[in-house]
């Protein structure tokens, strides 16, 4: 170790400084949005007011009047939470069976599930509009929940599968010997043991649902429209409402960015399907 630890002065001082500079550059747009959200719409576009301005909360207090923020936000919460729960309810038993009772087809099923994730959404856009309109599901919470949970289901199953696989099979079998049925195994052993993995899967799924911006935009109009739709609808104010737009954007991404900080590790596993450790 001592040999490797001999670094030049450059790497000892310059690299951390450089790392900080890069990190600040990357964070700057978010910081700028946050900053702008505390400016009035007029201040927001005045060049000399980059840092010297009187902060105001009016953009946040007026969010409901300006954008009907809470309706979209509650739609986002309802659909994302429900979709996450539904995906877990379907995904946990499936991943459990695959991890502890694998058959020769298990690998193929997993691969196939993953392949559904790779289908370009645009290819099935019209059939989805056509189908949902003809059975009256267009622009409903139910539709958004189903679509969000289905597009995330492969990732949910994959993540859970990789977590479950780390639980020794012996423990499940000991449970069997001790008199547990399948539901008991899941409830008494699997869920308590894989609690961390299930929670981070849920967190990540929730983030993906919240940020989804294709189906939520194309399959809703008003009733089930989420924050993505709200922002997309106010996409180009031509500088008129930078202050209030920044505020509503900050409100839309703030909680998620903070949540995201807590599941960085799981993100790697979830997005690479366990292929990078």
């Amino acid at each position: 170790m001592a040999i490797v630890a001999q670094h030049s002065k450059f790497s000892k001082i310059a690299m951390p400084v450089l790392a900080w500079v890069v990190a600040l550059i990357f964070f700057f747009p978010i910081f700028y949005m946050l900053l702008t959200s505390f400016k009035t719409d007029a201040d927001a576009v005045k060049p000399e007011f980059l840092f010297s301005f009187t902060p105001t909360l009016e953009n946040y207090t007026n969010m409901t009047d300006n954008y009907d923020y809470w309706r979209f936000a509650s739609n986002s919460v309802i659909t994302s939470v429900s979709a996450t729960i539904f995906a877990l309810v379907v995904g946990v038993p499936c991943a459990y069976a695959m991890a502890f009772d694998p058959s020769r087809g298990t690998k193929d099923i997993l691969m196939w599930m993953l392949s559904t994730k790779m289908l370009p959404a645009a290819a099935v856009l019209y059939p989805m509009i056509f189908l949902t309109k003809s059975i009256g599901l267009f622009d409903t919470h139910f539709l958004v929940i189903m679509v969000l949970s289905l597009i995330n289901l492969p990732i949910v199953i994959w993540m859970l599968f990789t977590y479950f696989k780390d639980i020794p099979k012996d423990i499940i079998e000991a449970g069997k010997m001790d008199g547990l049925n399948t539901w008991g195994e899941i409830k008494e052993i699997l869920i308590p043991l894989a609690w961390g993995g299930i929670a981070s899967t849920a967190l990540l799924t929730f983030i993906f649902c919240w940020n989804e911006a294709y189906w939520t935009v194309r399959l809703t109009t008003i009733d089930a429209a989420t924050l993505s739709k709200l922002i997309e609808g106010n996409r180009a104010p031509e500088g008129l409402f930078f202050g209030r737009l920044s505020a509503v954007s900050t409100a839309a991404v703030g909680p998620i960015v903070v949540l995201g900080w807590f599941c960085q590790k799981q993100l790697v596993q979830g997005l690479t399907f366990g292929a990078v450790k």
Partner: protein
């Protein structure tokens, strides 16, 4: 009850749901791609309902194939995807190496770096195209205006004034225009996805064999040789995975394109389909099938790689 029944039963809901989700809409797309089907057509009203009678064979495919807009869309798709891939991988490796060793505040640096990834795409696009890149009111406009002011001021300065009077006035770039909207998209998506690449490369670097590096040092390898012959090969697999996962995500970019240019700028394949869906469903479906084929070319490689590690 047989041993195998319960596991099958537990998998059934997930499999059926995904099967339905995949087969039904895709089957419809496939069917629509072979018929004449328009939402509005006053001349031929019989074409406004999906019916086997309007069979067109490969006509829609031929039609799309001969559209310049289709090829432009493919070209834009590839330009956007390839540029993003190159930038995110290059930046990702550089930053991952930069923050691989511990230094004061590394945890905070990580948090700052990863944040862009969690910003919802719609907000990302609105933020960049308005607050940052707007030629007049965005940060770009403000910055260019300030630089011009400074130069203007310097022209009156003694000694150097003559030099600065030779400088042109800088013009801000409008990223909403046809030829530049793709660059705005590339910029914002690179900003969003570089953190993802960093995160994966960093995870991978942590698992690098330190003894191997020590052996290399004893063998006389310098920092660059260590990177070139040990670290880079070690990152080979993560790089491949980052490339393929991003390719799949970015081939279907939509919100960013929509928000940046509102259809006036560079359209990619999903956006082109989105426009066709407004009337010509047959052509939209045929284009959709082309998109599926394009995505599958990438997907096959990714699946193969993931499959190898699956049962380890």
């Amino acid at each position: 009850m047989s041993n195998r029944t319960i596991p099958r039963l537990l998998q059934t809901p997930a499999v059926l749901l995904l099967l339905f989700w995949m087969l039904v809409p895709l089957g419809m797309t496939l069917f629509f791609s072979f018929i004449r089907y328009f939402l509005n057509n006053t001349r031929r009203p019989e074409w406004t309902s999906p019916s086997i009678d309007n069979w067109r064979g490969f006509g829609n495919y031929q039609y799309v194939w001969n559209q310049d807009a289709f090829w432009l869309a493919i070209q834009n798709s590839l330009l956007i995807v390839c540029s993003i891939l190159f930038l995110t991988v290059a930046l990702g490796i550089a930053i991952a190496v930069l923050i691989n060793r511990s230094f004061p505040g590394r945890g905070i640096v990580r948090v700052l770096l990863i944040s862009p990834f969690f910003v919802m795409p719609a907000v990302n696009a609105v933020l960049w195209i308005n607050m940052l890149l707007d030629p007049v009111l965005g940060l770009q406009g403000i910055a260019v205006a300030n630089i011009n002011d400074v130069i203007l001021g310097l022209r009156d300065a003694p000694l150097v004034g003559g030099f600065f009077s030779l400088w042109p006035k800088f013009e801000p770039i409008s990223f909403r225009a046809t030829q530049t909207s793709a660059y705005a998209v590339i910029m914002m998506v690179t900003w969003q996805w570089t953190p993802f690449a960093v995160l994966i490369f960093m995870t991978s670097l942590q698992s690098e064999d330190q003894q191997q590096k020590e052996a290399a040092v004893l063998d006389g390898a310098g920092a660059w040789s260590q990177f070139r012959f040990l670290t880079l090969p070690h990152l080979g697999r993560p790089i491949a995975i980052v490339v393929m996962i991003q390719a799949i995500f970015h081939l279907s970019l939509y919100a960013e394109i929509e928000i940046v240019s509102r259809g006036n700028g560079n359209k990619n394949l999903p956006y082109y389909i989105g426009e066709l869906v407004n009337n010509n469903i047959g052509a939209a479906s045929a284009t959709g099938i082309f998109a599926v084929i394009l995505a599958n070319i990438v997907a096959i490689f990714l699946l193969r790689m993931v499959g190898k590690t699956l049962m380890e």
